[in-house]
Amino acid sequence: AQSVSQHNHHVILSEAASLELGCNYSYGGTVNLFWYVQYPGQHLQLLLKYFSGDPLVKGIKGFEAEFIKSKFSFNLRKPSVQWSDTAEYFCAVTVDAGNMLTFGGGTRLMVKP
């Protein structure tokens, strides 16, 4: 069965710092990859997704992620974070064109103003 690992559980950054959150998955077949975000007091929402094609995908609010197949990774990046990026970020995967979303454990990001 597939699994997703997020190695950073808590990240604290100052505004304008660059962000990279790690995500690794374990599955040998075809995958679709996602990042979801949960802002304080809000519901989970889709940040960006990778299905195929260009491995560098761009999402909302200046976020991007790069799919590196050889490393089974899908790291999330943002060049300059803002206080409003404070949230919990979840990496997730579906496999073999299925619709069952498997989540990682999440990374809690705090951005200091």
């Binding site: 997020q6 679709n32 519901h43 989970l44 619709n99 069952m100 979303l101």
Partner: protein, 117 residues
């Protein structure tokens, strides 16, 4: 567009009692999911419905959990009897049919937080 509605938002019960959560998905979304999110962990799928049929319930503890989606719209998740380890947020999500190219694009409700004492 109205989002996924869930109720109640909060519930506190004692162990061995029963509880039920309700979910109304986004209109037109054929697929409905129930996830369990324990504090400090990512959401874990409990059950997935396609219209009113079960697609996957392999991680649903069937000795105490049950779920139904009558008429392919609203859904109810029940726990009976509850255990301490059932304390979690129960998330409902919905999505368009996967074959319309929207695989993995789930819309989540705000969740129902259960505390079992």
């Amino acid at each position: 567009e109205a989002g996924v509605a869930q109720s109640p938002r909060y519930k506190i019960i004692e162990k061995r009692q029963s509880v039920a959560f309700w979910c109304n998905p986004i209109s037109g979304h054929a697929t409905l999911y129930w996830y369990q999110q324990i504090l400090g962990q990512g959401p874990k799928l409990l059950i997935q419905f396609q219209n009113n049929g079960v697609v996957d319930d392999s991680q649903l503890p069937k000795d105490r959990f049950s779920a139904e989606r009558l008429k392919g719209v609203d859904s109810t998740l029940k726990i009976q009897p509850a255990k301490l380890e059932d304390s979690a947020v129960y998330l409902c999500a919905s999505s368009l049919d996967a074959y319309r190219g929207r695989v993995g694009e789930l819309f989540f409700g705000e969740g129902s937080r259960l505390t079992v004492l």
